[in-house]
């Protein structure tokens, strides 16, 4: 497998920029001609996957389009029809499939997602707020000069700062950002736990086609992709979801249930997710967190569930076990390999430290983005079958305790043993800790495809 042509792939598809600030600009295209002018001008600023030999830039820019956006830019009808159905319909139309109902229903989304139709996403990541503002005003200038796009809304996000230092924590206090899938062709070395399991128990990279269009996927074929091939190759699909966090409810639930749980509050928090709040995986350290382990990327995702079939260490319904079952289903992990997703994102809103008063309504949460070659087969499947449902995890209709759309009646069983510090414990009447406030499905084109789109040169076949 030769290395990928990283100069053609947008950087955001290949690496998670660990920059402390970000702004996601949500745009609408004005006219097709002016819109294409805008895309042409912006293309010169897009950050590719090339290595930063001169050190990290002050900021990066990446661009993605909804189906509406591509239509507005004048892509031929036949090309538009060749995109996968779920991408064409968009996330709002598919809300029932995703269990985005009740508290997560589109009626309760932010106005930009509920009422408007976002057509372009510009992701700007920066080393500092000043660099962020500077980059964004340059982009705004291009919008103004070409008259090709207008800003519908801007979503800021930033790493949570604790004791003056940016962290990878989110608002519930969990350390995030572990383990994105390894796939072939990328320069980094495989880290155990991030690829797929080979029959001999070693971790090897997944097929490139699980995360980039135009390459063979785990099923030995090219993933469904728009025609012509040049439009699709080196591109990928992105799911953007604004996840509001009910911090007050979460803290109260944890406090109250933590008193009743034999292992205590911190352990209960760990059992929800499968990692202690500092990131130590329960599978490797069931008794207490291990900061050294958590801080070592070569070890922090290196585990399987084979020796924990009963879920006594990491519960069967815990978040990370649901989202990435590893070997939990048997069959050498084959049932899992085509359901992997790359996650990116940053918290948004004001961080309220533990112990200080906080309200659910305060604006805080996570901007969650998923990258995959097939939204239907990867993100939608994980969301529908593994997060909002539990049959594969043998947990019936029970949902992910953390992310589930419980509606106040959810339950999750924490498996344990006869050890009083690790008892079986049933979490009942689970509320919605997380609520969806909007989002959509986007296409992240390659640099070649961007040029084609900007030039209006896409061949309709």
């Amino acid at each position: 497998m030769s290395n990928l042509d990283v100069s053609d792939i947008q950087g955001f598809a290949l690496r998670g920029y660990t920059f402390p600030c970000a702004r996601y600009l949500l745009l609408a295209i004005s006219t097709p001609e002016a819109g294409r002018q805008f895309v042409l001008r912006v293309s010169a600023h897009i950050t590719t996957g090339e290595r930063w030999d001169d050190g990290k830039p002050a900021s990066t820019v990446n661009i993605a389009f909804t189906h509406h956006g591509l239509a507005r830019l004048g892509l031929p009808e036949a090309t538009l029809l060749s995109f996968p159905l779920e991408f064409a319909q968009g996330m709002k139309a598919r809300h029932e499939i995703l269990f985005d109902t009740g508290r997560n229903a589109p009626e309760r989304w932010d106005p930009v997602w509920r009422d408007a139709q976002v057509q372009v996403w510009l992701g700007v990541h920066a080393q500092s707020p000043a660099a962020l503002d500077e980059r964004c005003s340059k982009l705004q200038a291009i919008m103004d000069e070409t008259g090709g796009a207008k800003l519908l809304a801007a979503q800021d996000a930033a790493a949570i700062v604790i004791d003056g230092k940016p962290t990878t924590k989110e608002h519930f206090g969990y350390t995030d950002g572990f383990g994105n899938p390894d796939f072939e062709g990328v320069e980094r070395k495989t880290v155990p736990g991030q690829g797929k399991l080979a029959p001999n128990g070693q971790w090897v990279p997944l097929a490139t086609g699980e995360f980039l269009l135009g390459y063979p996927d785990e099923a030995g074929e090219l993933p469904l992709a728009p025609v012509p091939r040049l439009l699709a190759r080196n591109g990928t699909f992105m799911v953007y979801r604004k996840l509001h966090q009910n911090v007050a409810t979460f803290r109260a639930y944890l406090e109250e249930q933590g008193k009743r749980y034999g292992g205590g509050k911190e352990k209960l928090a760990a059992k929800f997710v499968g990692r202690w709040r500092d990131g130590t995986p329960l599978e490797l350290a069931p008794g207490q967190p291990d900061p050294v382990l958590a801080g070592d990327p070569k070890r922090s995702t290196d585990f399987t569930y084979g020796a924990d079939r009963d879920g006594a260490r990491c519960p069967l319904g815990a978040h990370i076990r649901r989202a990435h079952p590893r070997d939990a289903f048997g069959f050498d992990g084959k049932l899992v390999n085509r359901r992997r997703i790359t996650r990116r994102g940053l918290p948004y809103g004001t961080y309220t430290p533990e112990g200080q008063p906080v309200r659910d309504e305060d604006e805080h949460g996570v901007i969650f983005m998923v990258l995959n070659a097939s939204i239907f087969r990867q993100f939608e499947f994980v969301q529908q079958q593994w997060i909002e449902y539990g049959n594969d995890a043998r947990q019936g209709s029970d949902k992910d305790p953390m992310l589930g759309n419980h509606g106040g009646q959810g339950k999750s069983m924490i498996q344990g043993s006869t050890d009083p510090q690790n008892p079986p414990f049933l979490c009942a009447r689970l509320p919605n800790f997380v609520e969806l406030r909007g989002g959509d499905y986007f296409f992240i084109p390659s640099m070649t495809a961007l040029r084609l789109i900007a030039q209006g040169a896409v061949d309709p076949r």
Binding site: F331, K334, R394
Partner: protein, 198 residues
Amino acid sequence: MTNINGKAYAMTAITPMKAWKSPILRLFFFILGHVKPLQADLVNLSFIHFARWVLIGRSKFPRLSESQPQEQLRYDYLLFFSNFNGTWNQYIDAFSDVLERGLNLVWRWSEKYPGARPVTPFKRYIAMVQFDTDYYYTAYPRATTNDVKAAHRVNAALEDLARQSASMSAEQFGAAYTRFLVAVQGDLGATGVGPVGT
């Protein structure tokens, strides 16, 4: 959507087979039926309630009266019925990923079968040979086969506890109850509604 009732999906498919290939398939099924380990994968996938294959010889379509015209068929036909949990795509993806060889051994004798991998032509073939159900009944629509098996395990553990605890002190019961919790803790998922079967 009549193929779906609660958490169960009824798949019905029919494929033509050259008559000389039928005995080979019958032999394979005979072996499968008598060599239990071969069925292990099917059991471990654990999302089929009931499934069956029925080979109909070309002259064996039921004829109930002289006035009913005789069938004039060149091919034998393989009928497949499955009652499974999950979506159509999920089911076929899982079989393609995990049971490729077994699927091929059953269907390679059917005309134009493309093989179980890669999965896209396989799905196209199934869609082509699938019949939609006119009526589908299940006695337990809110339960998958996993749920059913879990329920039987819980029931058995409960009966065990009831038997043992007939004459226990409170303290003894406390310990027995904890052991009971550990025994059933993986089997308490709620039954109910499943995801939209797209």
